[in-house]
C-alpha cells in the first residue's frame, strides 16, 4: 500500500462514512464464525449438549483447552503441517528459482518448447492425476513420508512460470556486470540474481505455504499414518459423525487451538503477506 489513491478525492464525507460503516458491518459478519467457535470452545461439552445459547452466559471454562494439552494429537499434526508446508515451500522456491533462471537465462536446445510444455502443466488440476500419482507413490514407497507429502506440490509449474517471468524482467546487464566481475555462472545466479528475486520468492513462498497448509485430499490419502497426519487431516479425523463423542466444545477448542499459530503468524507478517499477494497480481 504505497500510494494513497484518490478514488475518494471527490465527494468525501457522508458517503465515505457510509461505506466505512458497511464495510465494518461486513467485517463483523466475517468474524462471527470465528467468535462463535471461540465461544463454544469456552463451554463444557455437557452444557453445550443442552443448549448452545449458554455461550453468552457465564461460566466459561478453559477445560477444553486443558484437555487438548493432555491428550490431543493436535501438536503432532501442527508439527507435521509446519514441516510439510515449510518443506514444500522451500522445495518449490529452490526448484522454481533454478528452473526459472534456466528458462530465462540459459540457452539450451528445445528451451522454448520445453517451457511451453511446462506452461501446459498449469492447466492440469491435481485431482485429475491424483489416483495415478497415488499408485506411483505406492510403487516408490513414498507414502507416509514427509517427502511423499511435499513432492506433489513441488511439481506444480506455477512457481517456475512466476520465477521465469521475474528473472526475465531483470536486465541482462546485471549478469554481464557480474561476468566481468569474475563471477561464475552459479555465483551470478546465487549471489547476484537470486537476491534480486526476493519479492517474487516471498509471494511464491506464501502461496505455496498456504496451499500446503490447506491441502486436504493428498495428505488424506498419502499421510494415512496417524503420526503423519497434517492438521487438516487430523482435525477432519475427529469431526466426522461418530467421532463427535469428544464433544462440541472440545472440537471447537481444537479448531481454535490449531488456527491460532497460523493466525498469529499472519498478524505479525500481515504487511508482508499482503504485499506479497498483491505482488502476484502485477
Amino acid at each position: 500500500m504505497t500510494t494513497q489513491l484518490a478514488s475518494g478525492a471527490v465527494g468525501r464525507g457522508f458517503g465515505d462514512r457510509l461505506i466505512l460503516a458497511a464495510t465494518i458491518a461486513l467485517a463483523i459478519v466475517m468474524v462471527i464464525p470465528m467468535l462463535w467457535a471461540v465461544g463454544l470452545s469456552l463451554k463444557t461439552n455437557q452444557e453445550l449438549l443442552v443448549d448452545t445459547q449458554s455461550v453468552l452466559k457465564a461460566p466459561w471454562t478453559l477445560i477444553n483447552y486443558y484437555d487438548i494439552l493432555i491428550g490431543s494429537g493436535v501438536f503432532r499434526w501442527l508439527l507435521n503441517s509446519i514441516i510439510v508446508s515449510t518443506g514444500m515451500s522451500l522445495g518449490v522456491l529452490v526448484l522454481s528459482s533454478l528452473a526459472g533462471y534456466g528458462f530465462a537465462r540459459l540457452e539450451f536446445p528445445g528451451r522454448n518448447v520445453i517451457f511451453v510444455l511446462v506452461l501446459f502443466g498449469l492447466a492440469i488440476p491435481e485431482q485429475a492425476v491424483i489416483l495415478v500419482r497415488h499408485q506411483l507413490f505406492s510403487d516408490l514407497d513414498l507414502h507416509n513420508t514427509y517427502a511423499g507429502l511435499m513432492l506433489p506440490g513441488m511439481s506444480a509449474p506455477f512457481g517456475v512460470f512466476l520465477m521465469t517471468q521475474y528473472f526475465k524482467a531483470i536486465p541482462t546487464e546485471i549478469d554481464e556486470a557480474a561476468m566481468l566481475d569474475n563471477a561464475s555462472r552459479f555465483k551470478i545466479f546465487w549471489r547476484v540474481l537470486l537476491p534480486m528475486t526476493l519479492p517474487a520468492q516471498a509471494t511464491l513462498g506464501i502461496f505455496t505455504f498456504l496451499h500446503a497448509w490447506n491441502d486436504y485430499w493428498w495428505p488424506m490419502v498419502s499421510g494415512t499414518n496417524q503420526q503423519m497426519y497434517t492438521l487438516t487431516v487430523g482435525i477432519a479425523s475427529t469431526q466426522q459423525n461418530f467421532a463427535e463423542s469428544a464433544g462440541l466444545g472440545y472440537l471447537m477448542a481444537q479448531a481454535v487451538f490449531a488456527s491460532l499459530p497460523v493466525l498469529i503468524v499472519y498478524m505479525f507478517f500481515q504487511k508482508y503477506i499482503v504485499r506479497a499477494v498483491s505482488g502476484a497480481a502485477t
Binding site: 493432555i70 518443506g87 514407497d141 507414502h143 514427509y146 511423499g148 494415512t224 503423519m228
Partner: protein
C-alpha cells in the same frame, strides 16, 4: 551448483524417512472416536462408558499388561474405509483395523486381509464360540478372516416419559406398533399428546441408517433383496411399501428432520421425540443419561429391537464389528502382539458389550453378568432374529451409501419413491456389475 543440489538431496533423504515402525510396535486403527481428554491414560475399563471410553481403556489396559508391546492407536473418522483403501493401495496398512462384518468380503476377496483361524486357535480363541451371526460374518471360504467383537442392529430407543404421556405404556412397558398402519396411528397419537414427533431420526448427512431401516423392513417381508450377488432388487412392492411408510411419516411431521447424527443424538437426549432409531452402541450413553436428574430421559429410557411391522417374519438387519489384520510383512514380535491383543479382546468381550452392542460370543450372551446389564434382556432376541445380507455380496458399504442417498431423496420428497428405487437399483447394479 553442487551445493544446493546436495542440500536438496539430503533434505529429500531426510524427509523420506517418515515414521519407522519399531519391531515391537503394532498400529491399531479404529473408529469409535477420540476421547483422550477423558480416558487418555485410564485403564479402569469397568468405569468407562460408551464406545470410545471402553475401547480406549481396553487398549490402555492391554498396553499396561503387556509392557513389551507398543500399541499405537490411530483413531479414524467413521467408517475409515477411504483411508484404509488408501493405506492398502499404498502398501502401508495398519496391523489391526476395525471393520464391519459386511465389509470383510470386499477385502477378503482381494486378499487384502489375512486369515486368522489357525493363530487364533493357537492363542486360545475358539471361533466355534462366536455367535451365529458373528461367525457368518467372519467365516469365508473355510477360514476366519476377523475377530468379531460384537453384533449390532438398529434399535428403538424409547423416551418412556413421553410414551407415558401419550398413553403408549402398559405394565411399565412401551406399546410398540405391529404394523405400518399402527405405527402411523401411534405416531399421530403421540404427536397429539406430546406435541413432539414420534420418531427421532438421523436424516441429514446420513446414509447408513436409511439402509438399515430398509433392509430390516424388507427382511421382515421376506423380500429377496439380492436375487444374486451381482444384482439388487429394489423395484418391488415390498420396498415401495417401506419407503412410502417413511415418506408418510416425514410428510406428517411425525419425525424430526434435518438432523445429522450428532444433532439427532443430542436431540433425543434433549427430549426432541419419542423413539430414536439408531444402533445398539448408544444404549450405554442413554442409560447413563436416564440416571441423571431433571432431564427429559430421567428414569424414562428403555430400548427395544426394531418392532415387527410385517407379519412374514420377525427379523432385523444385523451387522457387527470385527478386528481384521491387513496383509503385510510383520516381525514375529508384531504378529505375536497382534494375536495377544485379539485374545485380549476376545476375553474382554463382556466389557465391550457394555456399550450396548451384542456380544460376539455366545458364552457372553448366555452369561449372568451380561443379562444383568440394563435392557439386555429386551434385545437378547436379536441373536435369533438378526439377519445379515448374503456374504457373497461385495461392496456392501458403497451399496448402502447408494440406498441411503436414494431413500433420503425419496423420503424428503426430492424424488418420487418409484424413481428413487429405480435409480438406487440401477446405480447399485451398475456398481456391482463393474466390480472386478
Amino acid at each position: 551448483m553442487i551445493r544446493p543440489i546436495a542440500i536438496l538431496l539430503s533434505c529429500l533423504a531426510l524427509t523420506s524417512c517418515g515414521v519407522q515402525q519399531p519391531p515391537n510396535e503394532i498400529v491399531v486403527q479404529r473408529f469409535f472416536g477420540t476421547c483422550n481428554a477423558q480416558y487418555g491414560t485410564r485403564t479402569d475399563v469397568a468405569a468407562a462408558e460408551g464406545e470410545c471410553g471402553i475401547m480406549t481403556t481396553l487398549i490402555n489396559k492391554f498396553s499396561a499388561e503387556n509392557p513389551d508391546v507398543r500399541v499405537r492407536v490411530s483413531p479414524v473418522a467413521w467408517p475409515g474405509y477411504n483411508q484404509l483403501a488408501a493405506q492398502l493401495a499404498a502398501g502401508d496398512p495398519p496391523d489391526l483395523v476395525t471393520m464391519h462384518l459386511s465389509s470383510i468380503p470386499d477385502y477378503q476377496s482381494r486378499a487384502l486381509i489375512e486369515p486368522l483361524g489357525k493363530d487364533l486357535r493357537a492363542v486360545g480363541v475358539d471361533p466355534q464360540g462366536f455367535t451365529a451371526a458373528s461367525s457368518a460374518g467372519v467365516n469365508i471360504q473355510g477360514d476366519v478372516f476377523g475377530l468379531p467383537i460384537d453384533n449390532w442392529a438398529p434399535l428403538w430407543h424409547i423416551n418412556m416419559n413421553y410414551f407415558r404421556q401419550a398413553g403408549l405404556v402398559k405394565d411399565g412397558k412401551p406399546i410398540l406398533p405391529r404394523s405400518p398402519e399402527e405405527l402411523l396411528e401411534h405416531a399421530r397419537r403421540f404427536k397429539a399428546a406430546t406435541g413432539k414427533p414420534y420418531l427421532v431420526q438421523t436424516l441429514a448427512i446420513e446414509r447408513a441408517s436409511y439402509a438399515r431401516n430398509l433392509y430390516t423392513l424388507l427382511m421382515q417381508q421376506n423380500a429377496t433383496i439380492f436375487p444374486d450377488p451381482q444384482h439388487i432388487h429394489l423395484q418391488s412392492p415390498e420396498a415401495k411399501r417401506v419407503v412410502d411408510l417413511f415418506r408418510q411419516i416425514y410428510v406428517e411431521d411425525l419425525t424430526t428432520k434435518n438432523l445429522d447424527y450428532a444433532a439427532s443424538t443430542n436431540a433425543f437426549i434433549n427430549g426432541a421425540g419419542g423413539v430414536f432409531i439408531v444402533g445398539t452402541w448408544l444404549i450405554g450413553d442413554f442409560e447413563a443419561e436416564s440416571r441423571r436428574a431433571d432431564r427429559p430421559l430421567s428414569n424414562g429410557y428403555t430400548v427395544r429391537p426394531f418392532p415387527q411391522l410385517y407379519a412374514a417374519r420377525d427379523a432385523t438387519y444385523i451387522d457387527g464389528h470385527a478386528w481384521v489384520m491387513p496383509a503385510k510383512e510383520r516381525t514375529p514380535q508384531q504378529r505375536d502382539a497382534v494375536f495377544r491383543l485379539l485374545k485380549f479382546f476376545a476375553d474382554n468381550d463382556f466389557e465391550w458389550s457394555r456399550t450396548g452392542h451384542l456380544p460376539a460370543y455366545q458364552a457372553v450372551i448366555d452369561s449372568e453378568r451380561f443379562n444383568a446389564l440394563p435392557h439386555r434382556r429386551e434385545i437378547a432376541k436379536l441373536s435369533a432374529t438378526g439377519m445379515t445380507l448374503p456374504a457373497s455380496v461385495q461392496r456392501q458399504f458403497p451399496v448402502a451409501d447408494i440406498v441411503g442417498e436414494e431413500m433420503s431423496a425419496a423420503i424428503t420428497g426430492h424424488k418420487t419413491v418409484d424413481a428413487a428405487l429405480a435409480d438406487a437399483e440401477h446405480r447399485i447394479n451398475d456398481l456391482l456389475f463393474h466390480v472386478l
